[in-house]
Amino acid sequence: MFRNVFAFLAGGLFGAGLLVSGMTNTEKVQGWLDIFGDWDPTLAFVLGGAILPMAVAWNIAARRARPVLGGEMPGRSSTQIDRNLVIGSLMFGAGWGMAGLCPGPAVASIGWGGVGGLVFLLAMIAGMLAAPGLRRRLDRAAAALGGQNPQLGA
């Protein structure tokens, strides 16, 4: 019960922060990515402002055995920059630039995003459903080429 209450609060604060910072406005996001146009520095302040409290939180987490509501603190699943991370991030970035929306703001703005916002969200869900298939295909192609999942910076 408390897990769900605090999950709702965290999601709500996240959404409020996205609205206040201007990240639900696609023009501001694309303005930040548009280094050859009329560049908008806002997103740098958003990312910097978000990293500060989270860096403190990771510090506290390292000194605590458990989260407040129990369970385990999340570990590091992997430390490698692998092929899927690079290809996936390039695809995500391309889509992010095209529409100016990433997953958080896409959900946060659903109440006023209109048809465009809804279409984006449905397409995003379709893309998420297609991801496991693409991952298998990439693994097969890599195996056929003789590589496993080549890791950079290892």
């Binding site: 605090f6 996240f14 609205l19 402002g49 509501l69 970035g93 529409a99 929306l101 896409a106 893309g127």
Partner: protein
């Protein structure tokens, strides 16, 4: 325009505080694509209620704040639905393949000096910049 960066900083601090809350209280990493993706592809159905509660807060709370704005709030998303569909597909596939987006890799990853988080952020910023050049300046469709 001059005060936009202040609101960016204030909103950013709120986003980071939300991520800190989710980590220290629930023991979870606040990555939007992971939380949503786990519901979409069933991989996270073991914690469906917590995920759904997070998504509900994310979708409902900003709407409640809209009356505080004197001017109409808009996403200003392009009216070209083909671009919107292509963008949504790329964002969905890409974030799941990379296991994270701006919140998971960007906010939560960089703040713990994660090599994957920093690497992902470099690649999606690079692709995002090139995408805007292509679709806005070269093709002129957005």
């Amino acid at each position: 325009m001059q005060v936009d960066w202040i609101w960016g900083l204030v909103g950013g601090l709120m986003i980071g505080s939300a991520a800190a809350l989710y980590l220290l209280v629930n023991g979870r990493i606040m990555g939007a694509s992971g939380i949503i993706g786990g519901l979409v592809d069933r991989s996270g159905w073991g914690t469906w209620a917590e995920r759904l509660a997070f998504v509900a807060g994310l979708a409902l709370v900003p709407v409640l704040l809209l009356p505080l704005y004197a001017v109409e709030v808009s996403t200003n998303i392009t009216s070209n639905l083909w671009v919107v569909i292509g963008a949504g597909l790329l964002v969905g596939v890409g974030t799941r393949l990379a296991n994270g987006c701006t919140s998971g890799h960007g906010v939560c990853g960089i703040s713990r000096f994660s090599l994957r988080g920093m690497g992902a952020t470099i690649f999606y910023l690079l692709a995002g910049g090139l995408s805007v050049v292509l679709f806005k300046h070269l093709l002129g469709v957005i």
